[in-house]
Subunit: 443 residues, 2 copies
């Protein structure tokens, strides 16, 4: 036995081994732990789908003992063996009795990071930092979340488009943009698909969405900021009011979170100890003025930069207040004043000092900004002038409103921030595959 | 009649009107044509879903005649009316008898472009250029194509990840990269997710994919090049050979094209006169050396830049040759020489002068590049040195192969190029929402 030539079976994922008891299988993965005893050798091998114990009784198969003794933690190996029941083994009550093993790629020792290594150095070795089910799960959840959001939006008549990230002029808002050398001239990185999704509406698309990178040249070092992150943007034509956008978003999030719970809720519970809660709709709504009033009553002291807005502390306090009062994790804050929103926001007819806009705050973190846009060319031009926005750099944008453009509105969701909140991650770094910040461009 | 106050009904898309005969509806869209006669007024109104004739008999409703007379082509209007059968009307055999109309957004006259306007000026007014079902269809098809590709890949165990577009060092290949001002230093725009998807494999993800923008700072002005386009990239661990990647791709494309045919085949037939053909699998395969030999026999004279490769003319001739011989639109060209592929390609054990690589050519256009990657650290370092690639800028990449990395391979698909071929579009500009080229950064 073990000497006869046998055809190597096809690879089986570790997560599927429990249904293959009694069969000879091929398994591929990483060495997680080694326990090399005088008579027995035990290896825990992991792949994306799980971990399993490999077992070898010494002195049965010539050469195999030495191959296993030579393994190092982290090495990639392919092996064949027989799956057997092993009730004493904690990893699923099975083990694989190895008959042949191939060391495919050796891991140098020691590994450059350990559990205790500081977070910044772990980011230097992000591919090692990412190994393991706890580190993979946020990306599995993110993937499923996006799939469910897409499915919901396709069902509501949205078309996914791809808008350019290279722009000829710095885009709309006050946020800093990155400049790019462009064949002897300059381009700028889009800090949102805002203008382009509106152009798509002017081009006759009824409802459009996009998942893609957005770039913010802000020197922010908080746990919730990144210079590049994934945004989900959408825009819808022929809305009656901004409330239509909010209603869409609350249904979108409720359905997407329900989808994640159905697909990965058990893993989230096991690994993060979190019971995913599908939010009830409608979400609570509060005007910014009202929110600020209540926060001040509750002891909030807005900093200078939040004299007409909310700051991080205000957002956190507001969520606690909403949780107490409504038992809800989400709150739409509406009617931001004209002074803190870009010129292209529509203003309600009955109060020109505010905008038909909202932020969505989830457990203390802003995860969405949305609004109805001004589609009347003359009003838009006047609002741009009023806010000191020069018309020439945004000429192509303004032109969209000269040849027939319906009322429309939309929103932008920070997908990594959704993930942070869903899994209660302490930093956006853990919700991002390869984080980008002012001091972080590698790996 | 017409004077009593009635609740405005909810909006109905034009494409759904044929099922609403006899009902009073609200319709929103753009004025496509106006025919204002002495006794009757006819308006063709279009939205994303179709076009319909609106009809008004003059002197029935006070004020309505004048409102319709004041319309301009391109204007956005919302109206209510009753859907009636009208067998004489070519647009679906129905019309809407208008009872009230609101001019929401007036289109200035004349429109700045017409059917006959040259393509470059049409791009200046892309939002107008994009109006209409023929212009929308490529994006509807692209959306569906991506959805079907995602569905296929999720079914095969792929996880969608988002890799950074901002890199700390110029990335791997010879292609020129864009430099970005980054807080007083430099960043570079990723010209592919290559390194990052490989890092994800080294991080223990089994199969990964991404749809996102890729950037190429090449001053190319052909109909098939853009400085920014959408790529679908994927990478899979534990492959036995590059053939596994090719087998995946042919199944992926066959299923995705079948999905597009099922969902939009009729519209593609009606608007583009194209009968979508689902390609048979497996696709023909040919080594580059063999392809070059046969092309030269057929009269191909490679230019200087194609002394070891194929040029555009070679790709077109090859597809004609394959179509004649195999009756197939696709051909995998394999075994590209080491000299024309980046250092990280694996080389087959029996011929170190070539790489385990392929291009996929569809009807004369390269739509994919793929390969098995070298995962052995020592071999990789030697190959980088051999090709003159300095180790320091790619240190983070090379490090991925020091701590256990399985064999893996993958590919990158140009999604806009797929669209070009699927719909036989003359230029990538028509398969791109807002084209970017060396001379084109607007709108």
């Amino acid at each position: 036995m073990g000497q006869e030539r046998r055809e190597a079976p096809g690879r089986v994922l570790v997560g599927q081994l429990s249904s293959r008891v009694g069969e000879r299988v091929r398994v591929c993965g990483w060495v997680q732990t080694l326990r090399l005893q005088r008579r027995m050798q035990f290896v825990v091998l992991g792949d994306e789908s799980g971990a399993v114990q490999l077992t070898n009784r010494r002195e049965v198969r010539p050469g195999l003992d030495e191959q296993i003794d030579a393994l190092t933690v982290g090495s990639a190996v392919a092996l064949t063996g027989t799956v057997v029941d092993a009730p004493q083994v904690k990893l699923g009550g099975i083990e694989v009795l190895v008959d042949a093993i191939e060391l495919v790629s050796t891991a140098e020792q020691p590994l450059p990071i350990a559990e205790t290594t500081n977070p910044d150095r772990r980011l230097d070795w992000r591919f090692l930092d990412l190994r393991g089910p706890r580190q993979h799960l946020p990306f599995k959840v993110g993937d499923l979340l996006e799939r469910r959001m897409r499915a919901f939006l396709f069902g509501r008549g949205f078309t996914e488009l791809h808008t350019p990230k290279l722009m000829g002029a710095a885009s709309e808002s006050g946020a800093e943009v990155f400049r790019v050398d462009y064949f002897g001239s300059s381009a700028y990185l889009a800090q949102s698909p805002q203008f382009y999704k509106q152009m798509a509406i002017a081009a006759g698309f009824d409802r459009v969405m996009e998942v893609g990178p957005v770039f913010r040249a802000e020197p922010s070092f908080t746990s919730r900021h990144a210079t590049e992150f994934t945004g989900l943007d959408l825009e819808m034509a022929w809305i009656d009011s901004v409330d239509e956008v909010m209603r869409l978003e609350e249904e979108l999030l409720a359905e997407a979170i329900a989808g994640v719970r159905d697909g990965l809720g058990q893993q989230v519970e096991e690994i993060f100890g979190i019971d995913l809660v599908v939010p009830a709709t409608p979400f609570p709504r509060m005007t910014l003025a009202d929110a600020r009033r209540q926060l001040v009553q509750a002891g909030w002291r807005p900093g200078e930069r939040a004299s007409q807005d909310l700051d991080g502390e205000g957002e956190r306090m507001l969520s606690r207040l909403v949780a107490d009062r409504f038992g809800h994790q989400f709150v739409f804050v509406t009617d931001y004043p004209v002074s803190v929103r870009p010129f292209y926001h529509m203003r309600p007819a009955n109060d020109p000092t505010v905008t038909s806009s909202f932020d969505l705050i989830w457990n203390g973190l802003e995860v969405t900004t949305g609004a109805q846009r001004e589609h009347r060319h003359d009003v838009l031009v006047a609002q741009a002038a009023e806010q000191g926005v020069a018309p020439e750099p945004i000429r192509h944008y303004l032109d969209c409103f000269r040849y027939g453009c319906p009322p429309h509105g939309g929103l932008g969701i920070g997908v990594s921030r959704l993930l942070m909140k869903l899994l209660d991650l302490p930093s956006i770094r853990e919700a991002t595959l390869f984080f980008r910040g002012p001091n972080r461009l590698t790996p």
